[in-house]
């Protein structure tokens, strides 16, 4: 619960329902947007690639948070659903020759449908058992894309031509940046909106108390399946963007590690928080990139540094998750809220 700014008095429910009440809050939003626009003009190509990866991770993380953080259905299947999105869009594009925007839209719908299907076990399972069931869905999907040659054409990696829309060819990270950020912003806005409405509230009701939710008229079955579908739709979008952006689709990008990474993103960022999904994505994608960078920089003084990078990345990854779980299970979002409160009430303690 954020501390509400003092001195703000609403005269209508409509004004109370706005997300940003004070000038400072609106100004901050403007700053963030300005930063997003300026990034590709100032950062090096290496960091621009990272920025694009972050954008895609934001979309997937918002999706996963809807399911795990807001609906309380743990999932280890996000990697699998990213794969469904990537393969659907890629295959539709090269086999059916559909335009990429159409492929992406169909990938979103397909992934939502498959997500709903794999959500059916969730109706009867909770906690650890559900985690295992979603782990199974992850493995089933990966098994399918690895071994169904009729589907993938029997190649290990599908290559895609460069994205071309209306004669404009998306060649570089710079071009893609705008596409990815537009979708990331859309993901954040729609995610945020969902939980301002009754539909999103019913998800949280199922998370907090499913029996009471059903007594209030919430169809728990339908809600869980819908949460899986919506969550997977975001994963499908992220996967499809990844496919066309990188130009290569291979199962190796969608292994269990990826599912775990996404879970880590939302835990570090903050479960049940859309903003937290963004913070988590930035943090968990930037961290390994920084380590890689350091490894390269240290190579001149310590030649083996670059070799150690993967090991260090794994250790730091584990450490970060453990530290967050111990010290701030509510994640970066909570830390940021506390900082805001501190600044707002400065120099007073309360």
């Amino acid at each position: 619960m954020p501390a509400s700014a003092t001195g703000v008095h609403h005269r209508s429910y409509a004004s109370e329902l706005t997300l940003r009440h004070t000038r400072a809050e609106r100004f901050r939003l403007l700053l963030i947007l300005a930063a997003v626009v300026m990034v590709p003009f100032i950062v090096t190509p290496y960091w621009l690639t990272i920025a694009n990866q972050i954008g895609i991770a934001v979309i997937g993380a918002v999706g996963l948070n809807i399911l795990v953080g807001y609906t309380g259905q743990i999932s280890l299947g996000q990697g699998g659903f990213l794969a469904v999105g990537a393969y659907t869009s890629a295959l539709l594009h090269i086999r059916a020759d559909l335009p990429v925007p159409v492929c992406i839209a169909l990938a979103v719908i397909t992934t939502a449908a498959i997500g709903a299907l794999f959500g059916v076990p969730a109706l009867r399972l909770k906690g650890l058992y559900l985690a295992i069931a979603t782990l199974a869905s992850q493995e089933i999907i990966l098994f399918a894309v690895r071994t169904w040659d009729w589907l993938t054409g029997g190649v290990d990696a599908i290559s895609l031509p460069r994205l071309e829309v209306g004669g404009f060819i998306f060649r570089q990270d710079f071009d893609w940046y705008w596409v990815i950020m537009a979708f990331a912003v859309l993901a954040v806005i729609t995610g945020r909106n969902l939980f301002r409405t009754g539909l999103g509230r019913s998800f949280m009701a199922v998370r907090d108390q499913d029996i009471a939710a059903s007594a209030m008229g919430v169809d728990v079955t339908r809600t869980k399946v819908l949460a899986f579908a919506i969550s997977s739709a975001y994963a499908g979008l992220a996967g499809a963007l990844m496919a066309h952006y990188t130009g290569i689709v291979t199962w190796e990008r969608f292994t269990l590690d990826v599912s775990v990474l996404y879970l880590a993103i939302i835990i570090v960022g903050g479960l049940g928080s859309i903003a937290g999904s963004v913070y988590g994505a930035i943090f968990m994608i930037t961290l390994p990139a920084l380590i890689t960078r350091f490894g390269q920089d240290f190579q001149s003084i310590w030649p083996q540094a670059a070799e150690k990078v993967p090991a260090v990345q794994v250790i730091v990854f584990g450490l970060v998750i453990v530290l967050f779980l111990i010290f701030e299970p509510r994640g970066l979002n909570r830390i940021w809220q506390r900082m805001k409160d501190y600044i707002r009430f400065w120099p007073y303690r309360y």
Partner: protein, 278 residues
Amino acid sequence: MITRAYRHSLNGSHLAPGQPLMEVSDVSLRFGGITALAGVGFTVTQGHIHAVIGPNGAGKSSLLNCISGLYRPQEGQVTLYTKNGPAELVGMRPHRIARLGVARSFQNIELFRHLTVLENLMLGRHVHMRHRLLASLAWFGPARREEIAHRVLVEEVIDLLQIQSVRHQPVGSLAYGFQKRVELGRALCMQPALLLLDEPMAGMNTEEKEDMARFVLDVHELAGVTVVLIEHDMNVVMDISDRVSVLDFGELIADGTPAEVSANPDVVRAYLGEELSA
């Protein structure tokens, strides 16, 4: 009279007072070897406060759970008279029963603890809202209009129950008495045809009990909502109820007006003994 100032009626039933609203007949519920309910039957009349009493473990909560669909009795029927005619509740899933206008509170508070008071109450409006996915994702337009429209009724309930000051607090952080009130409010927001309250005053001090009894009476007298009330405090029951059903070891041992019931020798023996003879 306060409701006069309110724009919404909290009563969701269209029956005339005095007509049968719900008939429970021959309901039996067993858990393995335990018989929680044995052939229980009674009628709840529109406009009544109908108390269900009985010693601990008598099967009162189980009865409520059978009505709201959380338990499924092995035998018997529960018929609710709605504006579209009679509906059989046994075998119906809980959210369907809620849609027919049966609202309830729980003995051990079952609120959505991470949500604010307002959000909990808005969930009481769930069955009256449309929840279209695309509209929700877009927010501006129908979804926002709907939120505002339903907020008006919710604010009336907040006003009725005097919980204005905690409106934006997460319910998990509230005092017990407030939580009980929010639970009543959440059920009221459904504009119920039938309100089931499982020990709304349990664990309260005398003052809080009086407040709660007042709220239940307000809801009943001013809004005309029919209430089924489980309560242990005999003073409260005899004071406010129109009709009393008494359960003992899963059996209905008496059913009548408070005066009839308190004169019934079985009841005196099973339950009221000390309090009445004192």
